[in-house]
């Protein structure tokens, strides 16, 4: 599904911030991406999402060599990936409903075709009462849940989540993790970037990709 071969990344003339990264993400797999703050977890997720170009090495997404893909082809692949950003990236002028529906809207789908689905998901993540609210009036946890709902609404084949439980209470964190587990069982490959050890301990069988010293260490 995702394959990195000797990938390196540097910004400008600086030193490499990621060196010789090689790994694969199999379909239906579940893994945590961890490491200290600033180790490059978010950067690695952006490389997987093809929103950054590596300075060297090979990245393939859904068995397609990223360097050979056109912009339209990259867009098509991104539609198969759900992303939860660390800083939520909700659009402040759109309501919670509109934010969650955004990935479907940009595909040109008619609003009536997905309205029930979006409303249902919003209710499930506990935002049924905040459908009309704009993000600035939501709490951190509510924004987090809206961001997760936006990633899930496209029923992604691959879910990338950057610190998805960073702003929610332990009960909701467990609930969200259960949701990710269910997604994984339904066939979605899941990558959760976190440095929350307690969260990872709830999923002891999950593979751990650990970033440190600009390199990636894999613990099966």
């Amino acid at each position: 599904m995702v394959r990195f071969e000797n990938v390196g990344l540097r910004y400008g003339m600086g030193g490499e911030i990621l060196k010789d990264i090689s790994f694969e993400i199999e379909p239906h797999s579940f893994q945590f991406l961890t490491g200290p703050s600033g180790a490059g977890k978010t950067t690695l997720l952006r490389l997987i999402l093809l929103s950054l170009k590596p300075t060297r090495g090979l990245i393939s997404l859904f068995n397609k060599d990223a360097s050979q893909l056109s912009k339209d082809a990259i867009t098509d692949l991104r539609r198969r990936v759900g992303v939860v950003f660390q800083d939520f990236r909700l659009l402040d002028h759109l309501t919670t409903y509109e934010n969650v529906a955004l990935p479907l809207r940009v595909q040109g789908r008619d609003e009536s075709s997905y309205r029930a689905e979006v409303v249902e998901l919003l209710r499930w993540v506990g935002l049924g009462e905040h459908m009309h609210a704009l993000p600035p009036v939501l709490s951190g946890g509510e924004k987090q849940r809206a961001a997760i709902a936006r990633a899930l609404i496209v029923r992604p084949e691959l879910l990338l989540a950057d610190e998805p439980t960073g702003n929610v209470d332990p009960t909701l964190a467990r609930r969200l993790l259960r949701l990710f587990a269910e997604l994984h069982k339904s066939g979605t490959a899941v990558v959760i970037a976190t440095h929350d050890l307690a969260l990872m301990d709830q999923f002891e069988t999950a593979r751990r990709l650990v970033l440190g010293d600009c390199r990636l260490h894999i613990y099966e």
Binding site: L49, L50, S51, L52, K53, K71, D72, I74, T75, D76, R78, R79, V83, F85, R89, L91, H93, L94, T95, Y97, E98, L102, P103, V106, Q107, G108, E111, S112, R115, A116, E117, V119, E120, L121, W124, M131, H132, R150, L152, V154, R155, R178, L179, E182, L183, K185, S186
Partner: protein, 326 residues
């Protein structure tokens, strides 16, 4: 139902929820612009576009007014010719005038021929020489006005030959020099108007370009999020195009409306001033000073064109900038 089922199954429960949502319409907004509509930059752009459209409308309207007036002058001048009979010692001027009239009347293509009397000819000199002078001592030429038949073609050379054969001291002025000068003037006005129009449009395109780049910088977050949730470049650029088309349309309508208002007012004011001396001069130069329906149509077209240009320019710039992003 499991958590997975809640999200992915299209269950009876979900179908009934869909019906409920559809029937009750929970007040969800539809088609909210993805690029925020209200911004200070947006208002500034509307103002700039309005001013540019106003100037473009004024330029086009004025050019049309002058071109129409020039056409009027040209038509009036082209429908007339003048035969000038100079007094020559030893010749009877009145007889020469009568002979020239007779010769001119015999040429086909002439609707009417009449001569200015001696008194009328002298009256023509009054504005230059003043009144109270005895002009009988001066060799004042006599003028014959030849009105051309608009439905027939006149052989000017035949007329010249017929008249000068009988009256060697007669000359024919077919106003060609005037016509040439009028054509040059009208052409120059149109070219100047076109240049001003092109400059105004170029300035507007640049202003829209700056505004689009500013809007892109201000909405970088939105563009990035749209990209990452799977929006194609065409979709994103369409959002900006729609946004800027609306701004352009608003500016175009304000500017075009103001230009139309100016011409309506100028038409009304010139009609009110018709009885004054200045009004008479204006009337003689520019007719009623009122724009035709075609002129108003052109200004409306400019306003719409400005809106379309604004949208297209922003789309082009957004598309180019998106190509630079991965």
């Amino acid at each position: 139902m499991s958590e997975r089922g809640l999200i992915f199954a299209r269950s009876e429960e979900q179908r009934s929820l869909a019906r409920f949502v559809d029937e009750t319409d929970v007040g969800l907004r539809r088609d909210v612009p993805l690029v925020p509509a209200a911004s200070i930059a947006g208002r500034a752009l509307v103002t700039v576009v309005a001013i540019m459209t106003f100037l473009a409308g004024l330029t086009a309207g004025t050019a049309m007014l002058i071109a129409n007036a020039a056409d009027g002058w040209r038509g009036a001048v082209a429908r007339e010719m003048t035969i000038q009979v100079r007094p020559v010692t030893g010749r009877d001027l009145d007889a020469d005038v009568a002979a020239a009239l007779g010769a001119a009347r015999a040429i086909p293509g002439i609707a009417d021929v009449y001569a200015y009397s001696k008194a009328q000819s002298e009256a023509l000199l009054t504005p230059w020489l003043g009144t109270g002078l005895d002009l009988s001592e001066l060799p004042v030429p006599r003028l014959i006005v030849v009105k051309l038949d608009p439905k027939a073609t006149l052989d000017v050379e035949a007329l010249r030959k017929a008249v000068t054969d009988k009256v060697p001291n007669a000359t024919i002025d077919d106003h060609r020099l005037w016509l040439q000068r009028l054509s040059i003037m009208a052409g120059t006005v149109v070219v100047i108007a076109f240049v001003i129009f092109a400059l105004v449009m170029a300035a507007m395109v640049l202003a829209v370009g700056f505004a689009t780049r500013g809007a892109m910088a201000g909405n970088r977050e939105i563009i990035e999020v749209l990209h990452l949730v799977g929006a194609a470049d065409g979709y994103i650029s369409r959002q900006f195009q729609r946004h800027f088309f609306r701004l352009g349309l608003r500016g175009g309508l304000i500017g075009g409306g103001a230009a139309i208002l100016v011409f309506l007012l100028s038409g009304s004011i010139s009609a009110l001033m018709r009885s004054t001396a200045g009004g008479d001069q204006l009337q003689a130069m520019f007719g009623s000073f009122a724009l035709s329906a075609k002129g108003y149509g052109v200004i409306a077209l400019i306003a719409c064109g400005v809106a379309v240009t604004t949208g297209l320019v922003s789309r082009l710039i957004v598309f180019r900038r998106l190509r630079e992003l991965m």
